[in-house]
Amino acid sequence: MLASLKFHWRFAVVAAFLMLLFAVLVIRMMLIQVVDIDGGLSFLQGQGKARTVRMETIPANRGMITDRNGQPLAVSTPVVTIWANPKKMQASPEQIRQLAKLLEQPYQRLHKKLQRYKNKQFVYIQRKISPALAEAVFALKISGIYGREEYRRFYPAGEVTSQLLGFTNVDNVGQEGFELAYDSWLQGSDGSRKVVKDLFHRTIKVINHIEEAKPGNDLVLSIDLRLQYLAYKELKSVVKHHRADGGTAVILDVHSGEVLAMVNQPSFNPNDRRNMEIASVRNRALTDVFEPGSTVKPIAVMAALESGKVHAHSKIDTRPGYVKVGRKTLLDPVNYGVIDVTKVITKSSQVGMTKIALSLDQETIPGMYMRMGFGQYLQTGFPGERTGRLPERTKWRPIERATLAFGNGVSVTALQLAQAYAIMANHGEKIPVSLLLQDEIPASEKVVDAQYADAVLEMLKTVVKPGGTAKKAQTESYSVAGKTGTSHKVGRRGYEDGKYLSLFAGMAPADNPRLVAVIVVDDPKGKEYYGGEVAAPVFSKIMSGSLRMLNVVPDKLTTNSPSAVSRSNYVAGR
């Protein structure tokens, strides 16, 4: 009894002591895990989260640029950037040699780079390589080499559209052209979210979206890639053939004001810009201004017709083939005699134009140029677009009035000239030009009465006929109208001797114009430099090809009735 009591007492003490120890453990655990004394709770939760909770970036793609038919012109595609953590990197010299060989880098350079950054945590090895090549790099199994997915811009049309589109830098920020002008529109913003991942790195729960990814918007240009390609090919061949410094060509849709093609020479390959020259980046059709020369004569004549001082068949005496204005003598290549106003355009007579200009009020011609949009922004939104120069004077000297009428002392861009011709082709209606696809035709503005615009169009038809200055602008299947121009290149010290711009501006089909095209060839170095010799043939090729591609009915071909077709050997294909 005593023994059992004694045992009971000792047993109770030991049991109580052990219970106390257990209680201490429980309390300690509670303090750590529930009450959060001395940071235990936050530490453990932090450690737990560090193993499961991840921030994920949701990559956003830069928008695509397409032509009017949805052909891709600029597309972002994923590439892999290889980077290394030199501190964690363990690679044998042989492995580095293999890596260098794969990436086509000199071994010495790669080796030196890794040595230089050996105490750092991050160094780029190669940026933006193809996913296939990246696979090969990872197959080397070098620890401390990682890949990061990025996007790279590709331009499938290459040099054909390079100045128009511009390009992006290595961080996908637009640098030139539409890539720059619409950068924020095209640029998406990466999103990020907090997620829980399991042991196998599978996302099992989204905690919250920090930021939604905003994919970039697509941009649809008014350009038709088929016409763009054709115009580029023809321009490139003429620039090469005449050893010209450069050139530009613009095709404009008369009824919608949309630019269907805008090409420049010299050009560059936007997919590989290592040998790019700065001069080839300019979109000359918008950034380069030139004196339009004789190509503005129809506009000056339109002003004269509107003033009522002359009509299409008024007689102008150009004898004896030259005229003195102030101290200057302006001359024609031959004495044209007494000719009418139409013939002044057909022959591009300097003397005839001078006499018409001097018979007008001094504000008549500058006023008309102003209404045609000279000296004003076209509002295309294109970076670096220039306005050209239309001088404003209160008093014009006679020589200034004469030279202005044949395109000296005023400067324009190729697109401004194209717009002016579109107005003449569209019965005096001015439609704002656009480089982006228009959902609906923008409101036009009547700037000249239809009768004067149509009368000038009639005169322009004579230019390409026998006796005109641009017989080479004719096409086989379509009637055309237009005007040549040859202007002195303006350099730093005024007109440069022996350097010319060869110009042609015109529309087709002549009776109901659908397209306007302007061709500028910069300093052709051969024997030929007149607009009618150099630029007109390009116009002919571009126009006939473009109209055919747009399914415009040829107006110079004989129309057969269906019965006549069945008798002919024409095979329709289906």
């Binding site: 994923p78 499938p156 729960k205 088929r226 090919k233 086989e476 004989t558 057969n560």
Partner: protein, 93 residues
């Protein structure tokens, strides 16, 4: 109240609670499985989009107008029809 004196009630409640517990476990497990599946489908969708972009590039390279023109002219001996070969047909009366 004989409602509280019922000897079977605790057991019934215990069973019910256990059942809902398992149901919760099962549902959240299923939810996770579906979620993982959804994530894979999402990344598949992204991969398809990438592939589409690459195919688009390939198509525009293969069908670039310069290449088409070269093949048409050199391999297939095609030429643009001349004026004499074109007949314009007026449809309708």
């Amino acid at each position: 109240m004989n409602f509280l004196e019922n000897k079977k009630l605790p057991w019934v409640l215990w069973l019910a609670i256990s059942a809902t517990c398992f149901a919760v476990i099962l549902t959240s497990y299923n939810a996770r499985q579906r979620f993982i599946e959804w994530q894979f489908l999402l990344s598949d969708a992204q991969a398809f989009e990438v592939e589409w972009g690459q195919l688009l590039l390939e198509k525009s390279t293969m069908a670039s107008y310069s290449r088409l023109e070269q093949i048409a002219a050199d391999k297939l001996n095609m030429t643009a029809p001349s004026k004499q070969q074109i007949v314009v047909v007026k449809v309708g009366y």
